[in-house]
């Protein structure tokens, strides 16, 4: 009789104390201490961002007014039927040829510098390291120097080089060729060296140990090991050079890009559409070429 009584009273007590706690939650705890900070942060954001939006003339609603919509619609509907009158096609062909020429000449120039640079910076193919594991200080300094040169060359975007060369030698494809040559030389040198370093070095090391020169060991050991990787990366870079030359055309470095810039400014959607199709075709061509080469070498 006594026990159940006390059990019941204890559950009652617990319920009562919970109710009392809820009732007695102090007034100052009703307010979330983080609330004021959050509100302030929101206000501050609006306060900072609003002038920025005004400064940058961010007015998305003008996209939806009637005039803009019709202009966009006209531009986009032009895309459906690419420009194909003979005169334009002739122009397109000439400009495409120029773009391909810019990319190819630029890449060829880049390789002329990148290949010797690769031979200098690669850690493999070191005769002084053979047997000692150490390279000499002058060799290390030269290696590091060329590495920095390549970093500088590739860290400046080709667009910046192109702007620079357009200022120096004027509008035209030469600026594009030089810009591609400089940037891509830095990229090719770095990646060639890394491809060589990540391939199996057993054959190269043995040739060196048997008294071959560095270049001979490269030709008979390292190149056959990694020829297809080197080739496929080079073709991919050619593809990038095509795209790069188009972007550089917008700043006046010749080729398809320059025409595209003009067509864009005239809102000639049909012409832009034809040019985009040509890009797709060129990239597909590069892809096919790389596939054939890899099948031949692999």
């Amino acid at each position: 009789m006594h026990r159940p009584m006390s059990a019941r009273s204890s559950t009652q007590l617990a319920a009562q104390s919970a109710a009392r706690l809820a009732a007695q939650l102090p007034a100052h705890l009703h307010r979330d201490p983080a609330w004021r900070g959050r509100i302030m942060a929101c206000l501050l954001t609006v306060f900072i961002v609003w002038p920025m939006l005004v400064l940058s003339e961010f007015k998305p609603w003008i996209l939806w007014d009637w005039q803009s919509l019709s202009a966009t619609g006209r531009f986009l509907s032009d895309f459906l039927v690419p420009a194909h009158d003979p005169e334009f096609l002739q122009l397109l062909l000439r400009e495409t040829w120029q773009t391909v020429a810019i990319a190819t000449a630029g890449l060829a120039l880049a390789m002329v510098v990148a290949i010797p640079a690769t031979l200098i910076i690669t850690d493999r193919l070191s005769i002084s390291a053979l047997g000692t594991g150490r390279t000499r200080l002058p060799a290390r300094l030269l290696r590091q120097g060329v590495r920095w040169l390549l970093i500088v060359l590739r860290s400046v975007p080709e667009l910046v080089w192109a702007l620079l060369f357009v200022r120096i030698i004027g509008f035209g494809p030469t600026a594009g060729v030089l810009a591609i040559a400089l940037t891509y030389c830095g990229m090719l040198g770095k990646v060639y060296a890394e491809i060589l370093e990540s391939s199996d070095t057993h054959s190269t090391d043995t040739l060196l140990a048997n008294g071959s020169s560095r270049l001979a060991a490269l030709l008979y050991g390292a190149l056959p090991e990694s020829a297809s990787e080197l080739m496929s990366y080079t073709v991919y870079r050619w593809e990038c050079a095509i795209r790069g030359s188009v972007v550089m055309g917008f700043v006046g470095a010749g080729g398809l890009g320059q025409r595209m810039d003009e067509s864009m400014k005239m809102l000639a959607g049909a012409e832009v559409s034809s040019m985009l199709l040509v890009f797709v075709l060129l990239v597909a061509l590069a892809d096919l070429f790389s596939k054939i080469l890899r099948r031949r070498l692999g």
Binding site: G211, L215, L219
Partner: protein, 281 residues
């Protein structure tokens, strides 16, 4: 004139390149004294990890000794300048256990690479386009029953064919010292006989020194007049084959698993080592 003269030579493992523990308590080769006359033929035997490959690499100037004297053709290669040392390397030929042939190369190119130390870079380039001396390459391959593979690609060859292809390169090299690391590891008994006989004939024909590491003790005893046995980086015995007794052989290989700090099987608790990277140069 001795081809090689080694006295109290110590060679330490090169940690990074060989995958073996560096700075370990025991050197790869310790207190090694050995004289090899020009034209001599000797077999290196000993349990796995005894230091046979390291000794061959040292003889090939591909590994610098830490202590002791080392002369080769009466010169200390490590006292010479780099260019002179590299010219000295052209007078020897090291055939590693794993054939050093790029998979995408053609057999004829791989074999003709023996001439690279002598060729100018233009000659080497031209030979990539049109093989300079396919007749000589074919003759070298034919001595190992590989004549029909002249224009195959290396990756189409079997393991044993690759190994013999690597040795065909040796036949073409004009080297005066031939260092061969386990040439029989991928060959059947008949081809093993043929290969060892061909190597010995070639060495004898041009009075070249032949040092060959072998795991097949019976073949070593049958083919080589002098046997050098290595165990744990030291010379266990260095005798004419007539004086090598079966007891000595048994003693050389006994207690295999308990040998102290072998380079190929380091203690796992002290040094993490890439598995499978230690064996070949």
């Amino acid at each position: 004139m001795p081809t090689y003269h080694l006295q109290h030579l110590t060679v330490r493992h090169r940690g990074a390149s060989s995958g073996a523990p560096s700075g370990g308590p025991l050197p790869a080769l310790g207190d090694l004294s050995l004289t090899i006359e020009q034209g001599e033929q000797l077999a290196l035997i000993g349990p796995s990890g005894a230091g046979k490959t390291t000794l061959l690499a040292t003889l090939a100037c591909a590994q610098q000794p830490a202590n002791g004297t080392f002369t080769m053709f009466d010169q200390d290669p490590w006292a010479l300048g780099e260019a002179a040392r590299h010219r000295l390397r052209a007078r020897l030929f090291l055939a590693p256990q794993t054939p050093p042939l790029p998979p995408r190369q053609r057999v004829v190119t791989a074999v003709l690479a023996a001439h690279l130390p002598q060729w100018s870079i233009w000659r080497a380039l031209a030979s990539l386009f049109k093989p300079a001396d396919p007749q000589a390459a074919w003759q070298a391959l034919a001595r190992f029953n590989l004549g029909d593979k002249l224009y195959s690609r290396v990756d189409r060859l079997s393991g044993g064919e690759r190994q013999r292809c690597g040795l065909a390169r040796l036949l073409l090299s004009p080297a005066e010292a031939l260092l061969v690391d386990e040439p029989l590891s991928a060959l059947d008994p008949v081809l093993s006989e043929l290969t060892l006989s061909t190597l010995r004939e070639e060495a004898a024909a041009r009075n070249a020194t032949l040092v060959c590491s072998l795991h097949q003790v019976d073949l070593a005893l049958a083919h080589f007049p002098r046997i050098v046995a290595l165990r744990a980086g030291r010379i266990a015995f260095d005798l004419p084959r007539e004086q090598v007794t079966p007891q000595m052989i048994a003693q050389l290989y006994q207690g295999e698993p308990a040998r102290p700090a072998p380079p190929a099987a380091p203690e796992p608790e002290t040094l993490p080592v890439k598995p499978g990277a230690g064996a070949c140069l």
